[in-house]
């Protein structure tokens, strides 16, 4: 047991470099997310940890032990695949028993039963994957990987195949599950909301490189690069200063002391249900969007307004 460490990992595909010098440490027992757009190299990074691909350069260590060169079946990590990759000819219980049987575990029956209980699938133990719902397949895949008590569980976009409502519910279950089993989770996702709500730490990747590593608050509120700022949420750019729309205020009168103010004209106002979204244009031509709560009042197109934010709400990003 121990921390999972990647040291200067490089991986080239025939056409381009997919992973370009990644170094990071994933503390034991942490819910860690690799967040980035598709093609950023996050899945390749996961595959190198699982042993499906080998890095061209760099070391993968787990608690001081080097994993490089070990076959996937020799590594103390297991994977929840994006498509789940459940064995279609085996029932939920048989899928979960697969890894234990390969190890010749004498306690297979009890462990399978416990794993089924853990993911609340005891009633569906004898069901084939084809007869399961999306959520049931997801839980089977989780139980199948967890029952082997890996040192690290790798999750490759495990929620992306679910419908939005189920996805939110599974998100909660996943978080609770990780807290209960205490195993290191490495979660791969392109969904910033998922990463923010689940993770202890997030590493943001772009074009094969790490952009920033930090807690969800750190990377959302103090992004290190423009890419991170933009990937985690909408940003209004006023020169080198970025402000999130929900931090942006609008008023007809000039705000009080200390506020950073820009004068602008309302170009559109939309009611979004939970808030109003007001889009404004500055004389310099920048577009600034503000999400404002009900009760602040409605703004009309063409109206001249003050757009402002409290000091400290802006993100100063080094160019």
């Amino acid at each position: 047991m121990g921390d999972l460490q990647l040291e200067a990992i490089y991986k080239d595909f025939p056409s381009h470099r997919v992973v370009d010098g990644i170094s990071l440490t994933i503390p034991q027992g942490c819910f860690y997310s690799l967040l980035g757009p598709s093609g950023c190299g996050k899945t390749t990074t996961l595959r190198m940890i699982a042993g499906f691909d080998e890095p061209d350069r760099g070391l993968i260590r787990l608690g001081g032990r080097t994993l490089n060169g070990l076959r996937p079946y020799e590594r103390p990590v297991t994977t929840v695949f994006q498509s789940y990759a459940l064995f279609p000819h085996l029932t939920a219980a048989e899928n979960i028993a697969f890894g234990l049987k390969r190890k010749g575990d004498p306690d297979t029956a009890r462990k399978v039963k416990e794993a089924l209980d853990l993911v609340q699938l005891s009633a569906k133990a004898d069901r084939l994957p084809a007869k399961m719902s999306g959520g049931e397949r997801q839980r089977t895949a989780l139980a199948r990987a967890l029952v082997l008590q890996p040192e690290v569980l790798l999750l490759d976009e495990p929620l992306s195949a679910l419908d939005p409502k189920l996805r939110k519910q599974m998100r909660l279950e996943l978080k609770e599950l990780q807290a209960r089993v205490g195993i290191t989770f490495l979660f791969i996702t392109h969904d910033q909301e998922e990463a923010l709500s689940l993770s202890d730490r997030i590493a943001v990747m772009n074009q094969g490189r790490l952009e920033q590593i930090g807690t969800p608050q750190e990377i959302y509120l103090a992004p290190a690069t423009r890419f991170v700022a933009g990937f985690l949420g909408a940003v209004n750019w006023v020169g080198a200063i970025g402000v999130r729309p929900e931090m942006t205020r609008i008023s007809r009168e000039a705000p009080g002391n200390g506020a950073r103010v820009v004068e602008a004209t309302v170009s559109s106002a939309m009611f979004l249900g939970d808030c109003f979204q007001v889009e404004t244009k500055t004389p310099a031509g920048d577009s600034i969007i503000a999400q404002i709560a009900h009760g602040i009042g409605e703004f009309q197109r063409g109206e001249r307004v003050h757009v402002w934010w409290h000091p400290g709400d802006e993100m100063a990003i080094p160019q």
Binding site: F52, P72, V77, F81, F98, R102, L148
Partner: protein
């Protein structure tokens, strides 16, 4: 709309009725009549041709045919599986390799069977090489026995086993093998517990496609068995030629057809149309 559809189906119906059902009907009629002195059929109508089928003599030949076809089918699948797996994993060379598997079809089956005679006979390539190398002192009796027939059948029908197995293995989700390895299965364990069970439909299809033509084979046992290795196909042929017993030949063919249909039904009942 309905009429137009009927018009396009007409050639297919005409073809089926004229060239498939009509000959079948003729065979049914022949099988119920008496043999003529110089071949052909004459009155009276009789069921005797069918009662003769139960003669142990023919039962032995039928059993031999099943055995030979069964061994050949097994041989085909055992040889075809690794080949199909290799082709399915060959990336861009798949098409080339598949065409190589089909290559023998470019020449006549008869010519290719003769080629096997040249390979296997006492003065043939195999014996010549072994003699020249001093491995053997006398030519091995490779031709004109059951094994020669089985080798010929496996050779002839191997592509029919490769193709369904290939299409099955090709569709096999690669992530299942990764999942197996991830869960601790060594490559041979993944093969045994994941690939083999999931290729069962392909194996059944290969089995049907090879077993049926092997069961009715007559050219291969005739040429490579040298008349010593009779299968039911040769028996049918004999009735229409040297024995001049068309009615019994017809009854035999119908019996063979019935057996094949029962077999197919038993197999296809399991996984519906998915097999073929």
């Amino acid at each position: 709309m309905m009429r137009l559809r009927a018009l396009f189906l007409l050639p297919a119906w005409a073809f089926t009725l004229l060239l498939f059902l009509a000959p079948l009907l003729i065979i049914v009629v022949y099988s119920l009549q008496t043999k003529g002195v110089y071949g052909g059929v004459v009155e009276p109508w009789t069921l005797e041709n069918y009662t003769r089928l139960f003669d142990p003599l023919y039962g032995v030949i039928l059993f031999r045919s099943f055995l030979m076809a069964g061994v050949s089918t097994l041989g085909c699948i055992v040889l075809a599986f690794p080949l199909a797996l290799y082709i399915a994993r060959s990336g861009t060379r798949k098409t080339l390799l598949l065409n190589l598997v089909m290559l023998p079809f470019w020449t006549s089956f008869l010519v290719r069977t003769y080629a096997w005679m040249f390979l296997l006979r006492d003065t043939g390539l195999v014996n010549s090489v072994l003699l020249a190398l001093g491995v053997i002192a006398e030519p091995l009796p490779l031709l004109y026995n059951d094994w020669a027939v089985i080798v010929g059948l496996i050779y002839g029908y191997l592509p029919f086993a490769v193709l369904p197995l290939y299409s099955n293995l090709e569709r096999l989700d690669k992530s299942l093998l990764e999942a197996a390895a991830d869960l601790g299965a060594k490559p041979w364990e993944a093969m045994l517990h994941v690939v083999l069970p999931l290729t069962a439909p392909g194996m059944r299809a290969a089995g049907v496609l090879v077993f049926i033509p092997c069961l009715g084979a007559y050219l291969t046992p005739d040429l490579l068995g040298g008349g010593k290795s009779m299968m039911i196909g040769n028996l049918v042929q004999n009735q229409f030629t040297s024995a001049r017993d068309w009615p019994f030949g017809s009854a035999l063919s119908l019996a063979l057809m019935l057996i094949v249909m029962l077999l197919l039904w038993a197999l296809l009942r399991r996984d519906g149309e998915e097999v073929l």
